[in-house]
């Protein structure tokens, strides 16, 4: 008989093996990212020198200065934080509600309505860009943040993600809640959501990331340099033959920090066993 849990020594050996194996993989994966950070501290000429710089250089301050001067970097960083946060909260609510509705209920038109929403995923955004832009112009919304945020709140990806995740809710859990006389909304908030914390965290991470990196739509609807989001501002640093690559890499590196913080904060919710109690009853 194999014991249920390996004894200490064997367990530690397997731990070490797994950890070191993953560490090597991570080291390879991290190379581009490491170089991104290194590039952020060099001038454009140094970046394209041969061989490329492997160690940090002394150009970070200059890069940040030119970011601030030519792209209003700190302002733009705040814009992106604001937009991404508002978007994550609103879209998170919309997607979770819809995902729950599609996952746990059977109702007339369920498949058709879900299919309709998935059209947004299936039809490439490049061809819906112009008519959507026209709508924003008709509404006199160009240059406003609602034009950036509202059209993408019902994100098919988010709805799909939540539908697939909510499918793991045991029907017995909800039924027993109903037996206790819970209303449907209370049932959703009190019974269904708590064990879904890992998926909600994943959803929030993706929504934030989506808005944080979204480029083409904000580029098209925003009008005033002071209202630009990060990717739009970074793209404005590109020219025909005078692109400030150092500044772009510095901007990207710094832009990664808030996103990393969001990830670290939310990944705490990836904890096992949230459903355990529910299943046990």
């Amino acid at each position: 008989m194999t014991p249920a849990v390996p004894p200490g020594a064997r367990r530690r050996a397997r731990s070490l093996l797994l950890t070191s194996g993953l560490a090597i993989t991570l080291a390879v994966v991290a190379i581009p990212f490491y170089w991104l950070a290194v590039g952020a501290t060099h001038s454009s000429e140094e970046i394209f020198s041969s061989p490329p710089p492997l160690l940090p250089g002394g150009h970070l301050a200059d890069n940040l200065k030119s970011l601030e001067e030519s792209a209003q970097f700190s302002r733009v960083l705040l814009n992106s934080l604001l937009i991404s946060t508002v978007y994550t909260v609103c879209a998170g609510a919309v997607c979770t509600l819809a995902g729950y509705g599609f996952a746990v209920y059977r109702f007339r038109g369920r498949e058709a309505l879900f299919g309709l929403l998935m059209l947004g995923l299936v039809v490439p955004a490049q061809v819906t860009l112009v008519p959507l832009f026209q709508m924003m112009a008709d509404l006199s919304w160009l240059g406003t943040y609602q034009a950036v945020v509202l059209p993408n709140l019902a994100l098919p990806f988010g709805i799909f993600l939540m539908r697939q995740s909510m499918a793991s809710l045991p029907p017995s859990l909800l039924d027993s809640g109903r037996m206790d006389g819970c209303g449907e909304l209370r049932l959703f908030l009190r019974v269904a959501l708590p064990p879904m914390r890992p998926s909600l965290a994943a959803l929030a991470i993706f929504l934030f990331l989506y808005q944080w990196n979204d480029f083409i739509w904000p580029l098209i609807v925003l009008r005033d340099g002071a209202s630009f989001t990060l990717p739009v501002a970074l793209a404005s640093l590109q020219g025909l033959d005078e692109t400030d690559y150092g500044a772009i890499l510095a901007g990207t590196s710094i832009a990664a920090l808030p996103m990393a913080a969001v990830f670290l904060a939310l990944q705490r919710h990836f904890v096992s066993g949230l459903l355990a109690g529910a299943v046990k009853e």
């Binding site: 508002v86 832009f133 590109q238 005078e242």
Partner: protein, 453 residues
């Protein structure tokens, strides 16, 4: 789209608006003011009053910003906002605005020659006619051929030229000297093949470099220049496809000859590869336009005195050595409510020699405006280029009579097919005439244009 759907759509939009208010987001940015409501038809407005927005990128945008205080001395009541959108991002932004009937565009738009004809043909009315605003008075102020580019039908003036680049022949004088070849004596590209062989044998350097697998969209620049030196292009003035013309076959055959002789190094990867070839001295010649001089000075500052420039050899003996290979322009959006004020700005920047001289001094952007060349800056000897007066060399090219090259709305598509054809010749040794005919046929099928010859 019927009336009914329009109504439904508006009703739905209302619902969207209510949701916006509910989400507490309405007006978060507070910058929906100027031009945002401009849709459909624009209007002239006052010549000396109004708020205008300008879209450009990086260097030129910085210069436009720098010119604004001077502009305001003459027009104190025009408020100018220059937005640096970045390039290529600006094309997505302008294209979307034009495709949406001109909605949301800035008043003044900076547009390259590769996009201008497409915008004019595909989105009629998208750009304002500058003729009635006073542009026609400047008809003869620009380098030959460029007026036909901005006013192809001779009726409507779609833009005014800003930057004009001529094809150049930047070469490593030291390598040529070492090989015992007189670069200035090369008269045709056939001569260049002979010179290139000697150069390769003596110095190991390639004659030129090309992006053989067409990893970038501009991989066929050299081919295009060879066409322009012969006074032809991808389309004739009637818009018919001329990719199969004898001139085109001649140009592609020349490229094949150069390549088969081992004189072409591979610049696969585009710009980065070009820069690394420049630094390593892989190729002795860069057949690049006017603006490339600044790049050489910047990238290989140690090689001062080793470089020279001349106009490219002709394709046929006695043929032209002058070709205006690209230009950029300022246009006014057809939807602009302040077209007259926008025109005032365009006129100030593009037709006033002092403005253009300043821009050239700061950013090396060569003016299309001929009167700007009276300034001393174009006649100074350059220490880097072995004491040559390179401003004068390119001025001579600009002055040379040139046909207008008809880019048409399908230029980008033609360019794509040409680069693919060139790759087949360079990588697979394909027959120039055959690949060009194939490209012409495919272009004809895709665009409905007729292929001639």
């Amino acid at each position: 789209m019927g009336q009914g759907t329009g109504f439904d759509r508006r009703r739905m939009l209302k619902a969207g608006g209510a949701l916006a208010a509910g989400a507490g987001l309405a007006g978060a940015a507070g910058c929906s003011g100027s031009g945002a409501s401009a849709g459909g038809g624009g209007s002239a407005g006052a010549k000396d009053k109004g708020r205008i927005t300008v879209w450009s990128w990086q260097g030129p945008a910085a210069e436009l910003k720098a010119l604004t205080p001077e502009f305001n001395k003459r027009y104190p009541d025009i408020q100018v906002t220059v937005e640096d959108i970045g390039n290529p991002a600006i094309w997505d932004k302008i294209t979307t605005g034009l495709a949406a009937g001109g909605q949301g565009l800035a008043d003044v738009l900076h547009i390259g020659v590769d996009y201008l004809p497409g915008y004019v043909e595909k989105f009629p009315g998208g750009l304002a006619d500058l003729g009635p605003l006073g542009a026609t008075a400047h008809k003869d102020a620009f380098a030959p051929g460029l007026w036909e580019t901005v006013a192809p039908t001779g009726k409507k003036v779609n833009a005014l030229p800003w930057e004009a680049n001529s094809g150049g022949f930047w070469y490593r004088a030291d390598l040529f000297e070492k090989a015992g070849v007189d670069a200035e004596a090369i008269q045709t590209w056939d001569d260049a093949v002979v010179a290139g062989k000697q150069l390769k044998a003596k110095t190991g350097a390639f004659l030129i470099g090309l992006d053989k697998p067409a990893s970038q969209a501009d991989a066929a620049n050299f081919f295009q220049m060879l066409l322009q030196l012969q006074g032809t292009f991808y389309f004739d003035p009637e818009g018919r496809i001329t990719l199969g013309s004898p001139e085109a076959v001649r140009a592609m055959t020349l490229i094949k000859t150069l390549n088969d002789a081992g004189l072409v190094c591979d610049l696969a990867g585009g710009w980065n590869a070009l820069m690394s070839a420049l630094k390593k001295g892989t190729a002795a010649v860069h057949p690049m336009p006017t603006w490339f001089g600044g790049i050489i000075e910047e990238q290989v500052p140690d090689e001062a005195g080793k470089w020279k420039v001349r106009l490219p050899p002709a394709v046929r003996r006695g043929g032209s050595t002058a070709a205006t290979v690209n230009s950029t322009h300022l246009a006014v959006a057809g939807s602009s409510k302040h077209q007259a004020a926008a025109w005032s700005f365009v006129e100030f920047v593009l037709t006033r020699p002092a403005s253009q001289v300043r821009i050239y001094r700061e950013k090396g952007i060569a003016p299309a405006l001929m009167s700007a060349y009276g300034d001393a800056v174009f006649h100074e000897p350059s220490a880097f280029f072995s004491g040559q007066k390179r401003g004068e060399i390119f001025l001579a090219a600009l002055k040379a009579p040139q046909p207008a090259f008809h880019y048409t709305a399908d230029y980008a598509r033609a360019l794509k097919l040409v680069t693919d054809a060139q790759s087949k010749v360079l990588l697979k040794g394909a027959d120039p005439a055959a690949v060009l005919k194939e490209a012409a046929d495919q272009l004809a099928r895709q665009t409905g244009r007729k292929a001639v010859r």
